[in-house]
Symmetry: C2
Subunit: 384 residues, 2 copies
């Protein structure tokens, strides 16, 4: 029985994780939930799963949850809050495995603490690896703690990497859906509206990640994540546009063999893989290969998607540049959604923030957070 600490339990990945626990009650139980701001959902989850610990974003929300738990007659669940609360969840001695699914750098400290505590991590938080991947992977290597990727691309890469030795890997190929503007002419990019950009062809996701998919910045973050997770330089990571999102990624070996992973586009599959690794429990998440007809691939267009180029450049520089890329993008996407900058203003803002970013390699999480704050300030000034 694996006892889980789920950071971001009320979000999409958190809920999918709980649906896996529901499906495999003999394999998984819930030890701790970091739930954020949704008291109703946190209450429902606590009532259903009886975690030892629940963390809310603020003291006020924690008090609300505690009082509603009392009213409902639910005992045995302690309620904590804030970053310290999230860290308490991720380091709970009774938890065997931490699912890190808090969006943004908010989950960073708790994820780092989980690794320091020697707990295997299922990582759904891209920004953690982008902003602090050097620190997290170094800590994980030192303690021999596995970090199992919970996103479809890196999960696919993780699977394909099992077919050879690390030094035999030539190139990691991340697939990209190409987003809604894959075939939009360059001259129309300036006029793209938030409404157009929020329509993703394949996945239903949050607002920022949907815009990031439209700019391909999301794929750029994944390039950086791949470098960190799999310990390869950016020159060994490439992107191929694959509109069907059926092949989730590929790994090319030095002998010439390429391994690819195919599955349904359902996050429960990488979650189950991470939780059960190295086992593969039988699931109902089947892909109908007999019905497969066509798979299309094309090269990404770095001219129409400058965010992808910027990400590769940041990946080469590492450290502060990766932090700034992520932070500046988050600010720029908000500004775009608020109609303060055009679609093409997203890469412009990122490029200008990167140009003002020193080549530095923060060595601690607080240095990372400080660099993140500075980049956000720089970006905020640009999108005023």
């Amino acid at each position: 029985m694996k006892r889980l600490a789920i950071l971001g339990s009320t979000g999409s990945i958190g809920q999918s994780t709980l649906s896996i626990v529901e499906q495999f009650p003999d394999r998984y139980s819930v030890a701790a939930l970091a739930a954020g701001r949704n008291v109703d959902e946190a209450l429902a989850q606590a009532a259903r799963w009886h975690p030892q610990l629940v963390s809310m974003a603020t003291e006020e929300l924690a008090d609300q949850l505690a009082s509603r738990l009392r009213q409902a007659g639910i005992s045995g669940t302690e309620v904590v809050h804030g970053t310290a609360g999230t860290v308490a969840c991720s380091t709970l001695p009774q938890a065997d495995f931490v699912v890190s699914a808090i969006v943004g750098v908010a989950g960073l400290e708790a994820t780092h603490a989980a690794i320091l505590a020697g707990k295997p991590v299922g990582l759904a938080n891209k920004e953690c690896m982008v902003a602090a991947g050097e620190i997290l992977t170094a800590a994980a290597r030192e303690r021999n703690v596995p970090i199992l990727p919970i996103d479809s691309e890196h999960n696919a890469v993780h699977q394909c990497m099992r077919v050879g030795a690390h030094h035999e890997v030539k190139t990691i190929w991340l697939t990209a859906s190409g987003g809604p503007f894959r075939q939009t002419p360059l001259e129309q990019f300036a006029g793209i509206t938030p409404e157009q950009a929020l329509k993703h062809p394949t996945w239903v996701m949050g607002r920022r990640i949907t815009i990031d998919s439209a700019t391909l910045l999301n794929k750029g973050l994944e390039v950086i994540e791949a470098c960190r997770l799999f310990d390869v330089p950016p020159s060994q990571v490439r992107v191929t546009v694959h509109p069907q999102s059926t092949v989730h990624s590929l790994v090319e070996y030095v002998d010439g063999s390429i391994l690819a992973q195919i599955s349904v586009t359902d996050m429960r599959l990488p979650i189950l893989y991470a939780l059960a690794y190295p086992e593969r429990p039988a699931s109902s998440l089947t892909f109908d290969l007999a019905a497969l007809r066509h798979l299309d691939f094309e090269e990404p267009d770095f001219q129409r998607f400058p965010c992808l180029r910027l990400a590769f450049e940041a990946a080469e520089k590492g450290g502060a540049h990766c932090i700034a890329l992520n932070a500046a993008d988050e600010v720029a996407v908000e500004a775009f959604l608020g109609r303060r900058i055009p679609f093409s203003g997203i890469p412009d803002t990122i490029e200008r923030v990167l140009a003002a970013t020193p080549e530095a390699h923060p060595a601690t999480i607080s240095e990372v957070l400080e660099e993140d704050r500075r980049a956000r300030e720089r970006a905020a000034q640009l999108v005023l």
Copy 2:
């Protein structure tokens, strides 16, 4: 340094194997060559590779080679002949690895002997596994001898099987190019000529295997081979038609993940994989993934390709039925090429031979060969 015994050294797989030895002189050397009937080529190979042993098909050919070796001043190479000679090659104490690439059941005894002698086998001989797979795999399991498949499909499956446990495999999907008649209407099948059938869309191969690709019997033999090599029932093997022959096969796991292997269509790749396993040496056999545009898949049509149905039926019955399938097909293909029966006569002949075949499981190689002889006789009478 791995010292190889190459059975079928003058054939296409044998020559490709020697080109791999040429490319990796620090990894591989040649201990023995079973060369068959081509004395010129056997002489050239002996001169180049200085094997300890060379076997020719007959005593007369062996004498010719021995005398030409003397004339050429090449010493240190003993020349033997016949089945005993091939067995001497495959069991040579100085050989570490046996490449089994003699076409047809002729290579069966030597391959069995290699396994009994505890030597890892790279198997390019499909008929071995179809006719005597039950015996060969039992012997290999008993002695813990690896059998590494040297054909693109099973080699791909072998790679994809490394990503999970055996009991986690749900379905092995073999890809088939579909052959030249993939889109030919059923009513035109009776009139297909040998010239039409000998044009294979993707691979350049021998005559029988080219016809077998056109009838999909070849894929049927591979279904049986997959059952034996990977110890799964026929119900766990399926075929998908993939005209580009880019994905060489796929393995579907019970959790829903499907792993696929992609590479150039060059037999040197599976040969290198088998020789080097579990390592992957760097090769120049690269597939240009950036240039990949489309992959197409479709379900096989069992009505137009009854040989595939017959193979699945034979796979279910095992033993004598698999032997008869292979033997009857070889006779029928010869008759088709000799214009004695129409294209549709190939499955008809096989079906009638299978109908007259008892459900039996030969327990020795000589029983297998006896069953093979009987099936050929039955088929020969039908195609007179």
